[in-house]
Amino acid sequence: MDKMPKWADVVLIPLISLILAAILSALVILGIGEDPIAAVNLMVSGALGSTYGWGYTLYYATNFLFTGLAVSVAFHARLFNIGGEGQAMLGGLGVALVCLYIPWPHWSLALIFASLGAAVFGAAWAAIPAYLQAKRGSHIVITTIMFNFIAAAVLNYVLVNLLRPEGSMDPATARFPEAVHLPSLHEILAPIGIEFSKAAPANVSFLVAVAACIAVWLLIWRTKLGYEIRAYGNSEYGALYAGISPVKITMVAMLISGGLAGMMATNNVMGEAERLVLNSTEGAGFIGIAVALMGRSHPFGVFLAAILFGFLYQGGAELALWTSIPRELIVVIQALVILFTGALDNMVRGPLERIFLALRRGKV
């Protein structure tokens, strides 16, 4: 079976898939009568050319880090969690409740408990599909999709009927108090003499997301639980014979996954909007799927992929601002990335395996 070296599987295939997606995206831009090279230039300068651009890129990347990690953890147990969107929405509710109803003396304390609140709400939202998969065998993909829709309805109801301040027409919560406002990267970097844009929304949750990456790496590759999750993902029956309970692994993996997706809300709800609005997640839950696929479910890969998608998001917004290319271009690019890295994986792997096989034969 071992036809290819590991580095080719981990690095080369995603890279080729990415290049294929990029070529097709360029063709799409050509197709709508724009210049792909000019578009790339605009995206790069808009997303990476200034600390303002970086601030937005890192802000989006933070969202995708959380949702990407969420999808990957479930993926290690061979569970396909499409419910990141709903879990992140509910996470936002957790953050809002913690921030609105408890008088916090300092943002750091608020952040810890808001993260907990977000994780608990996100995990709770993942718990039902997880339980149904583990105990009743209902398909996790379908149930998590359904739970996205149900989450939207729940959030709509809560915002319109329960959390909306009196006299406000907007289906949104009140603004969070001043004390729980998270410091932006500008405020963090200013004391050490780095000038970072004030206007950009990147904030301290980026560091939390990086910490989450490390925590997930430790969990998956350095703990017994992580080993069990991977073992279960590799072979359900093998794990069963090794005395690993499928119910436990399914539940635990999905709870962690939902918790991570929920924690995204510390960035977009607490760090940026500073209140909970309808559709606060803006599709980040779905982008997590692309991020996890591209990053091969490895935290470091997820980190790189999240930065890449952060760049695409911010660059795409700049494109929409300065050219007639709509923002939806990023959705197309995202689709192509998912298609090539996820579904058409074997299209790249097949020829590559043959090449490596031929090379090996050449040596012998």
Binding site: V28, G31, I32, G33, F80, I82, I128, P129, L132, R136, G137, S138, H139, V141, I142, T143, I145, M146, F147, F149, I150, A153, V154, N156, Y157, V160, N161, F286, I289, L293, S324, I325, P326, E328, L329, I330, V331, V332, I333, Q334, A335, L336, I338, L339, G342, A343, L344, D345, N346, M347, G350
Partner: protein, 321 residues
Amino acid sequence: MDFLTLIQVLDSTVRLATPLLLACLAGLFSERAGIFDIGLEGKMLMAAFFSAAVAATTGNVWLGLLAGIASSLVLSGLHGLASITFRGNQLISGVAINFLAAGMTVLIAQDWFQQGGRTPSLFSGGRFEPINLPFADALADVPVLGPIYSELLSGHSVLVYLAFLAVPATAWILFGTRFGLRLRAVGENPAAVDTAGVSVVGLRYAAVMICGLLCGIAGAYLATALQAGFVKDMTAGRGFIALAALIFAKWRPWHALGACLLFGLLQAVALRFQNIEIGTFVIPVQMMDALPYILTVVILAGFVGKAVPPKAGGEPYVKER
């Protein structure tokens, strides 16, 4: 609720159930052949856009329908390529197709029409007109039966009647023909079909293409009959509700009709009545919106009869050597 209101609600039930029914039957063919398809939504959306775009440019709704079907077939081909030929993950492929459609439709719409991702509104020739069944006007005044005939049964577009005819047609194809027998077999035990000397790949591609055809009609119905033109994300989760209906129907055509009518009714009621009061208890409109999804979860959990999907569903077939 008086009789006329009831008729009106049922009338919009039929209209709203039609795209669900077409998409549901589309999923039925695909999943019976062992190919899961969560890309129904994307195919419908793509077809909705291209049918509206072509109908708006040419003024001919039939050309629009053909364009819609063609675009949906292209996405089906892509799904087939990914999940049959390259044995990729069918769920991931479906997710990609949904994103592709959501992005491409707006991108192309903006490029062609510059109206913020929508097509121009469709006028007479570019839309499917309601068909008045014979004597509908004359019979309208007959009590009870008159309104049922003239309001509920008459006055729909040709695609509505087509969708309802597709139910017996599907039942016959699946359970009355050799092709249907083989198609079902390929979803249960592809190895057996292969041993019998029938092409698994061919059958699966056929099923996926029929799925594309039906999704194409469903999308065209949305943009050229139910509404007059394409707007961004106009499928609004109908592909997923159709999938839910398919599970509810336990992958059977006549049950699919019932499930789609039920979900159509839920949508019609939610559209017409915002908050429903039962005594002192108020059912909020959000509850009605979420009901199809909640129902699906309950059904999936096996609390209302067990839904058993085709055995080989989701598994790529690898021929033994």
